[in-house]
Symmetry: C2
Subunit: 229 residues, 2 copies
């Protein structure tokens, strides 16, 4: 197996403060892996044996209700750590990580988490900061679900995805991975019908454009106005 290239980690926040030899050390212990779109990296409730870095793609963090309904907690863009159960003092993964598109990951045995934290400058801080950002995001979702109407929640969700993963295309910014009406409904506590109706209306109004599995925001400003009520 060829050695992994050091540039992989150079610009990734958790490792940003490290020097070449340290990065080499970390890479030599990493297990690279490719996942197809739709594949699960790990599942809710399973033993948390490894933690991951997402090199490319987008991860969808999901949970399943007792009745079998899917709920998406958040999306993780490339460059971030995930599955870091050790940072939460947990022995099992709290949610399922599904690839929204083809994904490339590095992973390490969970036992190395504490080693990395002790050994590498800034790693602990960045790791816990990642947790903090996720917590803030979850808090925001709770607020939205509790106080906003569906229309506002869907507008917010689209804006968040565009900010996290968007790429410029002609006429707007496109969400950086394939996404269905059903997916959006699972992010917003809604139904695919309602999402479809709203996207149709917004398309008529020139706010978004969408093809099957692709959504482009063409007028972010007006979408923001909707999100804010």
């Amino acid at each position: 197996m060829p050695r992994l290239d050091e540039t992989l980690l150079r610009d990734v926040p958790p490792f940003r403060r490290l020097e070449g030899p340290e990065i080499r050390e970390i890479l030599d212990q990493a297990l690279p892996k490719r996942f197809d779109a739709g594949a699960a990296v790990f599942r809710e409730g399973h033993p948390a044996t490894r933690f991951y870095l997402l090199l490319d793609g987008t991860i969808r963090v999901m949970r399943t209700s007792p009745e079998g309904e899917q709920v998406t907690s958040l999306h993780i863009p490339a460059g971030q750590l995930f599955g870091i159960a050790a940072a939460l003092g947990r022995e099992t993964y709290p949610a399922t990580a599904v690839c929204a598109a083809e994904c490339l990951t590095l992973s390490w045995p969970m036992s190395l988490w504490h080693v990395f934290v002790a050994r590498y400058d800034g790693f602990a801080e960045e790791g816990y900061k990642t947790v903090g950002v996720r917590v803030a995001e979850m808090n925001q979702r709770i607020m939205d679900l509790a106080t906003q109407r569906v229309e506002q929640r869907i507008a917010s969700a689209l804006l968040r995805l565009v900010n996290q993963t968007g790429r410029k295309v002609e006429g707007g910014v496109e969400i950086g991975f394939p996404i269905t009406r059903q997916d959006i409904s699972e992010m917003t506590g809604s139904t695919l019908h309602t999402v479809s109706r709203l996207l149709s209306r917004w398309e008529r109004d020139g706010i978004v454009a969408s093809r099957r599995k692709h959504v482009t925001v063409t007028d972010p400003h007006r979408l923001l106005l909707i999100a804010e009520g």
Copy 2:
């Protein structure tokens, strides 16, 4: 100022593994404080200068939406750490901590967090475990808000409060702090009217009993059936 009694920390999880001298050391750096019901210990967005241990009472963790609506994220029972922004790599508190009843706290400068983590066996683990439990609880709330109807959410909320803070009284288990219909509505993303109507119905059905600011669950089993749909 008299020295604080060591038994204060003996049975509190974050300090459970420590010996007398270590507990002495920690207590000598602690600032004890009493808060009236309704008082804020710290506020959302303010600099996170200290972290806290709740000795007695119940803390309500709240956020305010841009439109001024209050949302309660979770309740913290006695014996737990809170305001541990450092564990999330944050410089400001992510939410407001309000006393649901009279509260007694100990607190330490946030700079000591990293000292405690490095110095005291088990402290880091317990601290991050606390974060993990809160994250799990938030995840659960997101799921509930996204998939359950108001009736189920209110039933779940009552059961959770009873489990966390309940005390046996004749005829049932009473929630361990004063709580209004408005409070419950802010926990469940509902309105005080809906909560009132449901509590009235459940009271007729013999599932709960309530007086002003007091709620007793008299038939937890049936309430659980409602919570599960």
